[in-house]
């Protein structure tokens, strides 16, 4: 049991994950949300992740800001790739652990966001609607399946770049910290 979503075909060897098929991130609702969910869980478990982006894809496309994903493992390098991909790779290499993560407490969740360094942002989510919705969108979710209250909560999360909303789908972005780095005080 790796705890990784079965929605993406993958193999785990030790602490490495190899994804068998190219993944989509171009903003096509469900596929993009599922890819983000999978990569988020890989990051959450501290796994080294090898994956390729679908050939025709540019992360984000016109649907969202690709810098929101810089805390997730970038795809394998390929010749002539877009500047967005190399920017992602550089950003991740500089901060491969702890750029964005969440921790769970009793009736609240804390989030640390250092995607816009050197600034950092800390959030404490303790409103019941936000907490519930944050839990719901741990899995890629169609906006049409959310209640009005949850839609409002997703909008708030998206405004703080804590959830990705694209093409009618939503997914939470901050990985849960399952494995502290050493030194644990470094993030």
């Amino acid at each position: 049991m790796t705890g990784l979503p079965a929605t993406v075909t993958h193999r785990v060897t030790g602490r490495q994950v190899h994804v068998d098929e190219p993944l989509r991130l171009g903003g096509a609702g469900r596929e993009t949300a599922l890819t983000v969910q999978f990569l988020r869980e890989c990051q959450s478990h501290g796994l080294r992740t090898h994956w390729e982006i679908a050939h025709e894809e540019t992360p984000g496309g016109d649907a969202y800001d690709a810098r929101m994903l810089h805390h997730l493992p970038p795809p394998a390098e390929r010749p002539g790739e877009s500047g967005k991909l190399s920017e992602w790779r550089t950003s991740y290499a500089a901060f491969p652990t702890g750029m964005l993560y969440h921790r769970r407490g009793p009736d609240f969740i804390t989030v640390m966001d250092r995607r816009e360094r050197p600034a950092s942002a800390r959030f404490t989510l303790d409103h019941p609607d936000l907490l519930t919705t944050f839990g719901t969108v741990q899995e890629a979710t169609a906006l049409s399946e959310l209640s009005a209250v949850q839609r409002e909560a997703v909008d708030l999360l998206a405004a703080e770049r804590l959830a990705l909303v694209a093409d009618g789908w939503a997914v939470a972005l901050p990985p849960r910290l399952h494995r502290w780095p050493v030194p644990c005080t470094g993030i």
């Binding site: 050197p118 404490t124 303790d126 780095p181 050493v182």
Partner: protein, 646 residues
Amino acid sequence: MRVQLVTMPWHPIDLPSLQVGLLHRLLQQVRSDDEVREFHGSLRWAEFLLERSGGWLRPGDYEAIGSDSIFDGLGDWVFSGALYEDENWGVARLKEYAASRGICTDTASDMRVHAAEFIVECAAEVLAQEPDVVGFTSTFMQNVPSLALARELKRCRPDLTVVFGGSNCDGPMGHALHRNHPFVDLVVRGEGEYAFPALLRHLDAGTQPADVPGLCWWDGRTPRVNTQSRRTVAPADIPAPDYDQWQAALEASPVLEYVYPKLVVEGARGCWWGEKHHCTFCGLNGSSMAFRAKTGAQLWSEIDHLVRRHRILDVVTVDNIIDMAYFKDFLPLAVESGWDLRMHYEVKSNLTREQIALLGQAGAVLIQPGIESLSNRVLDLMDKGVSGARNVRTLRECENHSLTCTWNYLYGFPGETVEDYAPVVDQLPALVHLQPPGGAHRIQLERFSPNFTDPGFGFGKRRPAEMYQHVYDLPEVELTDLVYLFDTEDAGIGGQAESRLKRAVGDWRDGHPGSSLVMEEAEPQEGVDVLLVHDQRHGWPRRTHRLTGWQAVALRRLEDGRTEPALHRLLTGDGHDVPAGELNVWIQQAQAMGLLFRDGRTYVSLPTWEVPVRIDSDPADHAADRQAADRQAADRQAADRQAAAG
């Protein structure tokens, strides 16, 4: 009565003061009519520096002085000019001291120019609350900042009652602090839970506090000192701290964006090991070694309350040693919570593998196991009660469970020899994949330690540490009672052996980041166990060792550490009929390949099962880098201005 509780620099600005929190809650319980206010002078100082320096002196600078300069007294020196009302006091002495030791004092000097004004502002802020009593808690370098404020308070309000307490006031230190500073009315020596309310009752009644154990007080102009009680505070009488005012102050402060707030809790006082075997160099428990602990349920209840109230998941425990009962009645509660805690705990190094795993599961991911040395004999000399092999095992298990382990390599113990160090230093390159010590340091002579109290240990010649010359304007005879650290003659190794140890530790630290030695079980072949050990350690050939049959079993059996005969017996019991000579040859080969560490007759295997996610440095380092860059930019601007002016 209005009581103001004060904590001055250099209390860590990411932590509440446990002492202030405890006394606040205690007074709420036993003197509910009192009005208790807190003054977080430490936080105010960090704010003051930010503001007055235009953002130049940041919380990172505060932390650097507060935590890194304890053995040079820079934090106290920053406020000594304010205390003695002479901006030049101690400047020449520090300059001479720093030059002889190669210490940079630029940041401390930059701060010092603001100290006097800060103290005046603090006094105004405290007195605006119209307190009847102001109580200071003082530990490490809080003495001079606290004395400076106390003096100013009494100058402004001579009728105010000023009380001191805390670790700096334990035993003769409290007496010396009192008799040398007439503006300090009362000093509580030892634990405050019984004494502080008792002295407040005397203040209410206007009676002499002659019956308050340990108290120092003035009888006219004569300093009186009550005998310190041997009675310790029962765990049931130690309240849960109140951090409401601290959190309110921090959340209103610009310092917040620079720090990661943490909660401070206390499960136990004293040291259960020290009661039986006092580590020869340790003075941390002061005059009260008696070990007392809250129940695990009580400690968890306090953490549960504080975490829910303050929405903070980082918890620092101040216990000098974990109560072993907590592995059964506290840590499982933390595991059950499912919360993502990050706890800091001091533990004894001889924990089992299961106990270390439980610490990790419970969120106690930062431990300080008091490793101190990897040599059996030196550990015996310091009466540490653990072997070098056990310490190596602990380091290895920290890797397996992603625990951050902080420790220092200590040397300079009377009776140690070059021969104690050579075999360990020879093997340090094999440990490069394990977390290295912060450094190799000669032990200090600390008050209350056996090395201090018994000159027979070899430190008969001692005098107050030289740094106190630029901290206090007091004669040596008074410093002898007042201070915690002493200079003494070096003991143990020196010269080349000392240099070699320091160099080896430096190499360990340099080589660690990319190093790993990790094993995995491969598919058995024809019913024979196969163990692969991937060696990617700095300074070693990159290779994979393939161990099969009894050799694979032997490496695993040595995870706990065994002597050669014991290993032979175990292998025989496992059904492996290995000739003793053959086993000996394999052990020598495995040690030569850096797969085993030898401590006396004991061997312990070094490969780990996991490699933690490692990151390069602490945020403080990032902050330091940013500050260095900012300083360079500012220097350039200053140079540009000078050039323009010229």
